[in-house]
C-alpha cells in the first residue's frame, strides 16, 4: 500500500477528486455495459413468454377489445 492512511488515499495530494471521479465514472459505465444487455435479455424473454401465452391460451383476462 502506497498511502499511509485512508485520508491520504482519498486526498492524493489534492488530485483525489480527479482520480476518484474518473474511477467512479468508469465503474458506472462498466456496470451499464454489463447490466443493460442482461436486463434486456431478461425483459425480452418475459415479453416473449407473455406473447406465447396470449397466442396459445386464448383471450387474456383484461383484453376484451371486440370490434
Amino acid at each position: 500500500m502506497y498511502f499511509n492512511s485512508l485520508a491520504a488515499a482519498l486526498q492524493m495530494d489534492g488530485h483525489g477528486a480527479f482520480v476518484w471521479s474518473a474511477y467512479f465514472i468508469t465503474i458506472g459505465v462498466v456496470a451499464m455495459m454489463v447490466y443493460a444487455p442482461r436486463r434486456r435479455e431478461q425483459r425480452f424473454l418475459r415479453q416473449l413468454e407473455g406473447q406465447i401465452r396470449r397466442s396459445e391460451g386464448g383471450n387474456p383476462p383484461g383484453a376484451s377489445k371486440e370490434v
Binding site: 498511502f3 482520480v19 424473454l45
Partner: protein, 248 residues
C-alpha cells in the same frame, strides 16, 4: 475448419456456448478489473512529474486501446457478414458499436479529467485526442444508423457497409490528424510521449489492458445473446427458452 465456421453460424449453438463462456469469464473479468484498479490506485508509486493524477492511466489507457481495437473487430465482423452473409457476424458487428462507444467515452472523459490537473484545462485539440473524438463519432454513427432502420436485417447490412468504409478511413483519419497537429505545432502543450515507464507502473497497466479486453469480450457476448434471441424469436428453441425462463 469449415464445420466450425458453420457452427458459428448456428444461433442456438452460439447462444449456449456464450452462456457457458460467460459463466466463468464474467466473474473473472469483474474481479480482475477491481483487482487491477486497486493495485494501480493504492499500491504503486506516483509519477514523479504528475504526482497522483497519474493513477488515472490505469483506466484511461486500457479504455483507449480497447476502444480502438474494437473498431477493427466491428469492421471484420461487418466484412464477414457482407461477404459470407453470416447472420452471426451481423449480430457481432451490431453488438460492437455501443461497447466501443462506451469505451471511447470512458477514454475521453477520464482523459479530460486527467487533463485538468495536468494541463490546467479540460480539453485540448491534441492529435491523439482529436482522433479519439472522431472515433467516438464513428461509433455513434453506426449506432444511430442501426437504430434508424426498422428492419434489423437491413440495418445490419447498412452498418456493415458503413463500418467497412470506416475501416478504410481510420488510418487516413489518424494520419491526417497527426499532420494537422504537426502542421500547426502549438507550443503550449505536449504529451510526454516516449518517456520510459517504470515497470512498477507497467505491470498493473498491462494487467488492466488485459482485463479491459476481457470486458469487451464479455459485453460483446452479452449483447449478442439479446440480439440472437430477438432475431430468432419465432424459432422453437427460443420459445422453449422463454417458457422455461418464465417457469423458473
Amino acid at each position: 475448419m469449415w464445420t466450425l465456421f458453420h457452427k458459428f453460424g448456428s444461433p442456438p449453438w452460439l447462444y449456449r456456448l456464450s452462456g457457458s463462456i460467460l459463466r466463468w469469464l464474467l466473474p473473472i473479468t469483474l474481479l480482475a478489473l477491481v483487482g487491477g484498479a486497486v493495485w494501480g490506485v493504492l499500491f504503486t508509486a506516483p509519477d514523479f512529474r504528475q504526482g497522483n493524477s497519474y493513477r488515472i492511466i490505469y483506466i484511461h489507457v486500457p479504455a483507449a486501446v480497447v476502444a480502438l481495437a474494437g473498431y477493427y473487430v466491428m469492421a471484420i465482423a461487418g466484412a464477414v457478414s457482407l461477404i459470407w452473409r453470416m447472420k452471426m457476424a451481423d449480430i457481432a458487428m451490431r453488438a460492437c458499436a455501443p461497447i466501443g462507444a462506451a469505451l471511447t467515452f470512458v477514454a475521453l472523459v477520464t482523459g479530460s479529467i486527467w487533463g485538468k490537473p495536468t494541463w490546467g484545462t479540460w480539453w485540448v485539440w491534441d492529435a491523439r485526442i482529436t482522433s479519439m473524438l472522431i472515433l467516438l463519432f464513428l461509433y455513434l454513427g453506426v449506432v444511430a444508423l442501426y437504430e434508424a432502420y426498422e428492419n434489423k436485417a437491413l440495418a445490419a447490412k447498412a452498418c456493415a457497409i458503413l463500418s467497412l468504409v470506416g475501416t478504410v478511413n481510420i488510418p487516413i483519419i489518424y494520419k491526417s490528424v497527426d499532420w494537422w497537429y504537426s502542421l500547426h505545432q502549438p507550443a503550449s502543450i505536449k504529451f510526454t510521449g516516449g518517456s520510459t515507464i517504470d515497470p512498477s507502473m507497467l505491470y498493473p497497466l498491462l494487467f488492466m489492458i488485459t482485463a479491459f479486453y476481457c470486458l469487451f469480450t464479455c459485453a460483446l457476448l452479452l449483447n449478442m445473446r439479446v440480439e440472437i434471441l430477438q432475431r430468432e424469436q419465432r424459432t422453437a428453441w427460443v420459445r422453449a427458452l422463454a417458457n422455461k425462463g418464465a417457469a423458473g
